[in-house]
Symmetry: C2
Subunit: 319 residues, 2 copies
């Protein structure tokens, strides 16, 4: 027999609600004590089984991905995460075991990121499992990184490596054959993004604009360009590729247009280069200059000879 | 041809995002400036087409109900609403017109309650339309109404009338026949709850415990009793019934166990009776004493002769 809603909340969710303001999940809402001089940062992402994750992905990793894509939004704003609210629409095929493993994933990331469940809602659905998470973070007032702010002449930077997640999804769908070790790495990059929280926080006061790469480099850089009212050129040969991705067919396309990498894409004045290189060493995270902001609108992607490459322009449209 | 995601956001959602911290929905997250001396109050409810609303309910009213069930949670905490984030998982049958009407409903309630859209996410689903909303409010620090706090000897109070929404749902499902005027009133009570925000705020410092009635009086009073570690007796004849509900079969059962009324249920010491009666007049909202808190655990529902009534004990289990 299936756990009822109240049993699920008491047994599985209450242990995750370790923040005082969560009130043990016994109340209608959670309380949060803002710290004077800080702004709160709020973000909300939804995920649907079969659309945003594969139904046979490990449940703990689905929970972690749901949490981390939201933490990645906080990272892109330079925020420190505080906690989250979860809405879970349970489909008939989701067993108690599955939910228990899902909550174990949340518990692991609560510990990893120093956060707690604050509240939420659990409902039933005749459709696929549908998840929505609202993450709350904080930044010193006025210090949040925004998408608007990129100026001509500034460098375009990206963290980590690009295209891994898109290639990992291809591997899972058996559309790509790779060696075992590379396979495991690419799949982990797809299933378990690393929100670049320490980087985002360190970029406050350095980056002029920032975004996380969820829809793909071209689409997400497009968002910065649009709200900043500028253009950019990007050098395809400069895109950082992982050892696992480098020799695979489609690696460059994945780096340009693949989504789900959750690396940070940001702009900064050239005079900050030394600082950023030192930061990369300090965080043990590659930071790569991939191009420059221009006055002329639009995004030019250039090959090694300086010729313009044609790139699939559209990023992800979610519906 | 259907509006794409970006067109939908730009055309329909951006006009709702009138708060400065929503950043015109151009960023990864929203910013909120907490007011010193206030706590934030956070709540999140989800609704699924066919489960929490009828697929042919008017889209604007679905939007308003989604918003208002969350505002009702804020009301139960004594909070003032500030804004909200919305996740919308769009099913294939949802046309652009439907979404436009949905957003018109949000706009109406933004104006009515002085709030704004802060952010969110739009995704596609192969299942039914699924909605999740996170509402944010504020209370003076330490002043939030909680469920714990009811003490033996205190009065149990309820606002408005009970059972209307459950009877309205029956009418919509053609399980009940009523006159036209009563029909319209009951359906509106089901579709368009009135979050008791002014009452909740006025109850700060008066009520010892509070909750909104979403799962039914018996279930929701049970939540107060459980976390307060007390029992209660309730007089069935004292339950406030609307003129439309009064003579319908099943009205008393609906008042005891029907959900979705979104009235406030609260406890207060007997010495606050005069104040509460004055408050009822001031707000033009009936406040009715329906029973008392007892030392002995459990909930007794008594008829006019003081005999115990048997009541369906379980409230809503959501999955």
């Amino acid at each position: 027999m299936s756990e009822g809603e109240f049993e699920f909340i008491a047994r599985r969710l209450r242990p995750l609600a370790t923040a005082r303001g969560a009130l043990g999940l016994t109340d209608d809402a959670a309380l949060l004590d803002p710290v004077p001089g800080r702004q709160l940062v709020l973000t909300k992402d939804a995920m649907v089984a079969g659309v945003h994750f594969l139904p046979d992905d490990p449940p703990g990793q689905i929970a972690q991905k749901l949490l981390r894509v939201n933490l990645s939004d906080l990272a892109a704003m330079g925020a420190t995460p505080l906690g989250y609210l979860l809405a879970l629409a349970r489909s008939g095929d989701i067993a108690d075991d599955w939910l228990a493993a899902f909550c174990t994933g949340l518990a692991a990331d609560n510990a990893a990121f120093g956060i707690a469940l604050l509240g939420g809602d659990t409902v039933a659905t005749p459709g696929p499992l549908t998840l929505s998470l609202t993450a709350i973070g904080e930044v010193p007032a006025g210090a949040a990184l925004l998408r608007a702010g990129a100026r001509p002449g500034e460098d375009v930077w990206v963290s980590g490596t690009l295209g891994d997640a898109a290639l990992g999804l291809k591997v899972l769908r058996r559309e790509s054959e790779v060696a075992d070790e590379a396979r495991a790495w690419l799949i982990e990059r797809y299933r378990l993004p690393q929100p670049r929280l320490a980087l985002g926080q360190a970029l406050r006061g350095i980056a002029s604009a920032a975004i996380d790469i969820s829809d793909g480099l071209v689409a997400d850089l497009g968002h910065i360009l649009e709200v900043s009212g500028v253009g950019a050129e990007v050098h395809a040969a400069a895109l950082p590729l992982s050892a696992a991705a480098r020799d695979l067919p489609g690696a460059r396309d994945a780096a340009l247009s693949g989504g789900d990498d959750y690396e940070l894409l940001f702009t900064a004045p050239p005079k900050r280069r030394d600082e950023l290189e030192a930061l990369a060493r300090q965080l043990d995270l590659p930071l790569t200059r991939i191009g420059a902001i221009r006055v002329d609108p639009g995004l030019l992607v250039l090959d090694q000879k300086g010729q313009e490459l044609r790139v699939r322009k559209a990023g992800w449209q979610h519906f």
